[in-house]
């Protein structure tokens, strides 16, 4: 394996070995602290345009299988790992992580002390990183000159509506760059799913006569979404049960007057205890957030805070006081990550039943 460098925008460089494609990439670097689910993370559109560094020391050991894609067009721009061993005899394994990355033209770097990298990134102001063959001045110039796209959502969200047919309730999913786990959970509950471009108008959505609305997860910043989408969300919550996740949660909060800020240090993992306020239960869930809803901006005569992250105190869930409309910051679909909150999909479908009563 050839030598490669991970360089950061503060001038630091880490030396490692190449894995996957050998191209040079630059992007925002995020740390993922999940213990498993690398295939889901690499293919989750939420990491679109980002270089994902895994703090778990051993990544790729069970290869890539047919079951765990979160999107077909892969989304991470590059990956940083500590070690990958291609030893699995899993019957599901089709190809190794290395060949998968090569096929999809995703560059990676291995033999990096990613737990040290995590601590380093936590302490320093790191925004961008590159995977390069040579860590010379030119490479750093290129890195610092790189302008990161703010069009992630437009790049991964579906431009055309499509159906995932089922015999149960008809649910319209506004696609901000959804992970397939959402559709998978709806399909398991036999829903008739209509996936729509996120800028579909209120009237076009209502004309399809869905029984409930899902605002999907997605990459990037909620501030890049046009205000007209917030207006649509506002109209939708008056009419139908609405369930938002991730980016969808941030947009739902904004549509109801709350503000969303960029966290100094995002959180990508499933190790934070999250309190479900109504029952005082502690749950764990896969979180991938760079933005959070500002609790002070929440109009409590309109919204109720329903979930709180007990490590960093961020708002993890809200619910509208007047409508069956709720959202969570985390990914409840359990792919990857804990399935503690997977029954939020049941809660949503049950509120559709109650709404139609």
């Amino acid at each position: 394996m050839t030598k490669r460098y991970l360089i950061l925008n503060d001038g630091t460089s880490f030396v490692g070995k190449s894995i996957g494609a050998e191209s040079t990439v630059t992007g925002e670097i995020v740390m993922n602290t999940n213990l498993n689910g690398y295939q889901e993370s690499i293919t989750d559109p939420i990491y679109h345009n980002q270089i994902v560094a895994f703090s778990q020391p051993s990544v790729g050991n069970i290869g890539i299988n047919r079951k765990n894609y979160e999107s077909i067009l892969t989304s991470a721009k590059g990956i940083v790992i500590h070690h990958s061993e291609d030893i699995s005899t899993s019957y599901l394994k089709k190809i190794s992580l290395d060949s998968f990355l090569t096929q999809r033209n995703i560059p990676g770097i291995t033999d990096i002390d990613t737990r040290y990298l995590l601590k380093y990134i936590m302490k320093h102001d790191i925004a961008k990183a590159s995977l390069v063959d040579v860590n010379d001045e030119h490479a750093f110039d290129q890195l610092n000159a790189a302008v990161l796209s703010n069009q992630q959502i437009q790049q991964v969200a579906t431009p055309k509506p499509y159906l995932v047919p089922g015999n149960g309730k008809t649910v319209a999913v506004l696609d901000f760059g959804l992970k397939e786990g959402i559709v998978r959970q709806l399909a398991q509950r036999d829903c008739n799913v209509i996936v729509l471009p996120f800028d579909t108008s209120y009237q076009e959505i209502i004309d399809l006569d869905p029984e409930g609305i899902i605002l999907s997860t997605g990459p990037g910043s909620p501030h890049e979404i046009d205000d007209s989408v917030l207006t649509t969300i506002n109209q939708l919550e008056h009419a139908l049960p609405v369930f938002g996740m991730g980016l969808g949660h941030e947009l739902l909060a904004m549509a109801n007057g709350a503000s969303v800020y960029r966290m100094k240090l995002g959180h990508h993992g499933s190790n934070h205890p999250i309190k479900k306020i109504i029952t005082n239960q502690i749950i764990y869930a896969n979180q991938a957030q760079d933005y959070a809803v500002d609790p002070d901006s929440i109009d409590t005569s309109k919204l109720i805070v329903t979930y709180i992250d007990l490590i960093n105190g961020t708002v993890q869930g809200i619910r509208h006081r007047d409508y069956p409309t709720f959202s969570v910051q985390f990914s409840p679909d359990g792919s990857s990550g804990p399935t503690d909150s997977i029954d939020l999909f049941d809660e949503f479908l049950e509120s559709i039943t109650a709404h139609g009563r």
Binding site: I277, I278, T306, R321, D322, P324, E347, S351, A354, R357
Partner: protein, 178 residues
């Protein structure tokens, strides 16, 4: 031989109570002037669970009245079980938003009896009804505002609600005698 079929498990029961709690906030516009009236026996435990949830969300207590409706029933010949007072909690229901809570809504006769009992306690502004299970077969013009689950059933079947406070688990079961 009696056969049991679980139709609502513990998780689903918790979820139903959670949803009913949020729906109460939606309909009632918060918890101001709210009084929950649980119909003995299991309705009381369900009312207490809903009150606890409301308290967690709103940081304020919601009074729960325990109601024994036996003496107000029209379908029991032997009504001697009601030696205790109907409302021993001294909660004032006058001008309050009262929500009756029971486990199963069936003929509607229990609810009618409860309305009679509440009538003796005072004059609420409004009375609503929350039930965990609506099994149909109404004999009176009564419907619930908040329903955990609609379970269409046959009159030959029994619908049993179990709550972990007095039973060994949370569940709703249909027992058929066929």
């Amino acid at each position: 031989m009696a056969k049991e079929k679980v139709v609502v498990d513990g998780m689903a029961m918790q979820r139903a109570l959670t949803r009913i709690t949020y729906e109460i906030i939606e309909k009632n516009k918060g918890i101001n002037d709210l009084v929950l009236v649980g119909i003995k026996t299991r309705g009381v435990y369900l009312a207490k669970r809903i009150a606890k949830r409301l308290e967690k969300l709103e940081n304020a207590e919601v009074p729960v009245v325990e109601l024994d409706v036996t003496k107000y029933r029209d379908d029991l010949k032997n009504k001697k079980s009601n030696s205790e007072p109907v409302n021993d909690s001294k909660v004032d229901v006058n001008n309050k938003n009262v929500i009756l809570v029971d486990d199963v809504l069936y003929t509607g006769r229990t609810v009618r009896a409860a309305l009679g009992a509440i009538n003796e306690m005072g004059r609420p502004k409004r009375i609503g009804l929350a039930v965990l299970v609506d099994r149909g077969h109404r004999e009176l013009p009564i419907r619930a505002d908040f329903v955990g689950k609609n379970i269409p059933s046959s009159k030959d079947e029994k619908v049993n609600v179990l709550v972990s406070e007095i039973d060994d688990r949370d569940s709703v079961e249909i027992v058929s005698n066929k």
